[in-house]
């Protein structure tokens, strides 16, 4: 909590200092930002109340208020990143469309990638197995299995064929 407060204070000080030091900075302020400028930032944010609806498309009063905050900040000359950081500091990481890439959150990005790579490896190995010459497999099987088992296999095969024939 104190951390967050400190960051906000830092941000405020920096903004104040900047506006005091740079004369041109004050000139940029005051001009009314357009709805499109507000929406461009709102699109990237999600409010904690209406989950999964981005801020620019949400019609609730809370989101309206958030958009007004963006408008105010833009008027004061804040940049897009500063405004986003402001919302993250206020409401946590969940306002961003994606989890920030650090710590535990890395899992969300890494796991699908890992699964995909494992899938590719499995597929590649499977392809290799499937492509290996057939006679070898059969001869190995036959040599290992007892006579009973191979007749079993034969009967199974015949039965399967019969079933296939009588389909419909």
């Amino acid at each position: 909590m104190t951390n967050r407060l400190r960051r906000i204070l830092q941000l405020l000080t920096v903004t104040l200092l900047l506006s005091a030091i740079i004369p041109g900075y004050a000139m940029a302020q005051g001009s009314e930002p357009t709805d499109d400028e507000v929406n461009a930032i709102a699109k990237q944010l999600y409010c904690p109340v209406c989950e999964n609806i981005s801020l620019d498309a949400c019609g609730t009063a809370a989101c309206e208020q958030w958009r007004n905050i963006i408008r105010e900040k833009l008027k004061e000359g804040w940049t897009e990143d500063e405004i986003k950081t402001y919302f993250v500091d206020q409401y946590g990481d969940r306002v961003m469309a994606e989890p920030p890439r650090r710590g535990f959150n890395w899992l969300v990005y890494i796991v699908p990638l890992l699964v995909f790579i494992i899938g590719i490896i499995l597929l590649y190995r499977a392809f290799q197995i499937w492509r290996s010459p057939e006679p070898e497999i059969i001869s190995k099987k036959n040599s290992k299995k007892s006579a009973d088992k191979s007749t079993d296999e034969y009967i199974n095969r015949v039965e399967e064929e019969l079933r296939k024939r009588s389909k419909g």
Binding site: E51, V108, S166
Partner: protein, 675 residues
């Protein structure tokens, strides 16, 4: 009284189902066919019984019985009758009852088929489908009873089914009404389709389990359940399309898909179901991948239950999770149980399902299909993980995060590209053997034609490389399919000396399955065109303008003519703007974007005004207005290029699936059998 009948028949259905399950098991174990027959009869009874229950609830909704808690929650006096009926699936308890009813329809239908040749499957199909039904009935009877009432007792107002001590029924004057978002034609069809798709997949799963339990390793279960699977797939696809359309028409964010967790929960069974359909195809043609087919149907079944769980448990908050309740843990227990049982069964039969066939070529049809299955599963894994991660993160770190569209799009976009690439080659590839040379021979002509797909966008000033690639892939797939149709018709014409028309008709009829598959793939490509259009080239603007004021976007200009605010008979307050759309100084259309405010539920609903052409959509939303309307109103305008192709493709897709599902003529089967 009616509530008593409704709940009574619900209870009886549960008892009959439990009896049916027991009888089927007993009969199977002790080889007593009469018991199995009795179980079959019990299963055919569940549908009529549940129909009484559903009918009672509809009656209560239609006649404004607000002493019933569910009726008060989802209905109101001012709602028109057709909405009162759709309120049946507008809330938790009702939608679960509706779900069970649809499942009962399918299970009862299964009993109607002839079982002479597959007696060994019958008891197990009964057991698996009834077990699923019993689970949902238990939810309805013990946790989400749609027939409970309000009672006034000395301790205050309580809700219960039977009269509490000293309780007197309360009759509220009016109900809260249906969620306005659900009062849309799309919403009348979307949920039933979605549910039908969900429950229909339970039937192939039952057959699969029956096959595993009886230890048969042949394709019989696939033949028996093929049509069920296709119907399930059709309904699920329709559900997704209608849902997307509803979002586009009603939710007012200018899009059709937002990677919302509940959308994803409907997409996941579709992905695994699609993979299953393709795997079935290889199994039928080549006798390979039997294990994979089993894994995929088990996955689909569990994703169906999981999807229902996500929508119904209140675990997720989204536009779809309309109510919250405590049935989550029971759902999880059921999913774990079915997953474990089916996987144990699968491992027991694993060896037996091994195929003797081998893969002979990387360019063979089966190799290409297996790659596309892996791609489909890639989206599935990403979606699954993306939906679950916020919950996991909250449990582990206590920090809530959002996993939004950019996360999914990063994975889905290249995978869809990859699938388009496969769709280019697949119609030309043949089973078991295909060489690169053979493919190259067939590919070079369409390839040259597909260059139009690069040239045109570049000529039009397009610089987005991904979009150019997408357009090229799309035109390549289309070219390949058109050439293939042409080539095959030509061969037929040459051989039979027929006219072009009758040759085309002949080849379409002769191999309807293959050609409906081609139609479906072309439809997917058309949908891709729409998706590329809106994803890459959507532009938007917003502004507050007075009457007579203008907003310009793309090559269009909208003029705000006037704003009307009025009340309607069905208790809505409507604010409707009249907006004329101009292009090159000419008025080409008049749109009426509006905002409806529903008095009974205190909720607004935004309905855009859309001008839709094959080239683009001009989409206007009324965001806000000043109290004195002449002072102005705020509009948000979207320009969505090509999006209409998404809907056109979707309808062709549905047509293709229907064509594939349509029953064969009976006469076709007889000679085959006689041989």
């Amino acid at each position: 009284m009616v509530a008593d009948i409704g709940f009574g028949s619900l209870m009886i259905t549960l008892i009959v189902s439990i009896y049916g399950l027991g009888a089927a098991y007993y009969g199977q174990q002790n080889r007593k066919e009469l018991w199995v027959l009795s179980a079959k009869r019990a299963m055919s009874l569940v549908f009529p019984l549940l129909t009484i229950s559903v009918g009672s609830l509809i009656y209560l909704l239609l006649t404004d019985h607000f002493e019933i808690v569910y009726v008060t929650e989802v209905s109101s006096r001012s709602m028109p009758d057709y909405l009162k009926i759709t309120a049946l699936w507008g809330g938790q308890a009702g939608s679960l009852l509706f779900w069970s009813w649809l499942l009962a329809a399918f299970t009862s239908a299964v009993t109607l088929r002839k079982w002479d040749r597959d007696q060994d499957f019958l008891p197990w199909v009964i057991i698996v489908s009834l077990a699923t039904l019993i689970f949902f009935l238990i939810l309805n009877v013990f946790f989400e009873n749609p027939f409970i009432q309000y009672w006034q007792t000395p301790e205050g107002i309580i809700t219960a089914f039977s009269t509490p001590p000293g309780g007197v029924t309360i009759f509220p004057r009016d109900g809260g009404g249906l969620n306005p978002l659900l009062r849309h034609p799309g919403m009348i069809i979307h949920p039933p389709m979605q549910y039908l798709g969900f429950v229909a997949f339970i039937i192939p799963f039952s057959y699969a389990m029956a096959s595993l339990i009886t230890g048969r390793s042949d394709d019989r279960w696939i033949q028996l359940s093929r049509r069920w699977t296709l119907w399930a797939w059709l309904f699920l696809s329709l559900g997704l399309v209608l849902g997307a359309r509803w979002a586009y028409d009603v939710l007012g964010w200018g899009g059709y898909w937002a990677w919302d967790p509940v959308e994803i929960s409907a997409l996941m069974p579709w992905l695994s179901g699609t993979a299953f359909l393709h795997s079935v195809l290889i199994q039928e043609k080549r006798g390979m991948f039997k294990q994979l087919t089993m894994v995929l149907i088990i996955l689909t079944y569990n994703l169906v239950i999981f999807g229902t769980f996500l929508t119904r448990s209140g675990l997720l908050s989204s536009v779809h999770a309309f109510s919250k309740s405590a049935i989550g843990p029971i759902f999880l227990a059921f999913i774990s149980l079915t997953l474990i049982i089916s996987l144990v069964l699968l491992t027991r039969r694993w060896e037996r399902l091994k195929s003797r066939e081998v893969l002979t070529s990387f360019f063979s049809k089966e190799a290409l299909i297996i790659i596309s299955i892996v791609l489909l599963l890639g989206i599935l894994v990403t979606s699954f993980w993306g939906v679950l991660f916020p919950k996991i993160s909250e449990m582990v770190t206590g920090q809530k995060v959002t996993v939004g569209p950019p996360f999914y799009e990063r994975v889905a976009a290249p995978i869809f590209g990859g699938m388009l690439l496969i769709m280019i080659i697949c119609p030309l590839a043949v089973w078991s053997y295909a060489s690169f040379k053979h493919l190259g021979k067939l590919l070079w002509k369409p390839f040259i034609v597909s260059m139009i797909g690069i040239a045109l966008p570049l000529y039009g000033g397009l610089t987005h490389w991904a979009a150019v690639v997408a357009f090229w892939l799309i035109s390549f797939v289309l070219a390949v399919n058109v050439f293939e149709f042409f080539r095959r018709t030509k061969i037929r014409r040459k051989n039979q000396n027929d006219s072009w028309g009758s040759s085309l008709l002949y080849i379409l009829k002769k191999n309807r399955r293959a050609y409906s598959a081609m139609i479906i793939h072309v439809a997917v490509v058309l949908m891709a065109l729409g998706i590329v259009g809106i994803e890459f080239f959507q532009t938007e603007t917003q502004g507050t303008i007075p009457e007579g004021g203008e907003l310009s976007l793309a090559s269009y200009t909208m003029v705000f003519e006037k704003l009307d605010i009025f009340d309607t008979d069905d208790a809505r307050n409507v604010a409707r703007a009249t907006v004329s759309v101009e292009k090159d100084g000419q008025i080409i259309d008049v749109l009426y974007p509006r905002r409806d405010f529903f008095y009974d539920s205190n909720q607004p609903m935004t309905i855009p005004g859309v001008r839709s052409t094959l080239v683009d959509d001009f989409y206007v939303i009324l965001i806000d207005w000043k109290t004195i309307s002449a002072e102005g109103a705020t509009f948000k305008v979207y320009h969505n290029p090509l999006v209409k192709w998404l809907w056109i493709g979707a309808w062709i897709f549905i047509f293709g699936v229907v064509a594939a599902t349509w029953p064969d003529k009976k006469t076709k089967l007889v000679p085959v059998r006689a041989k």
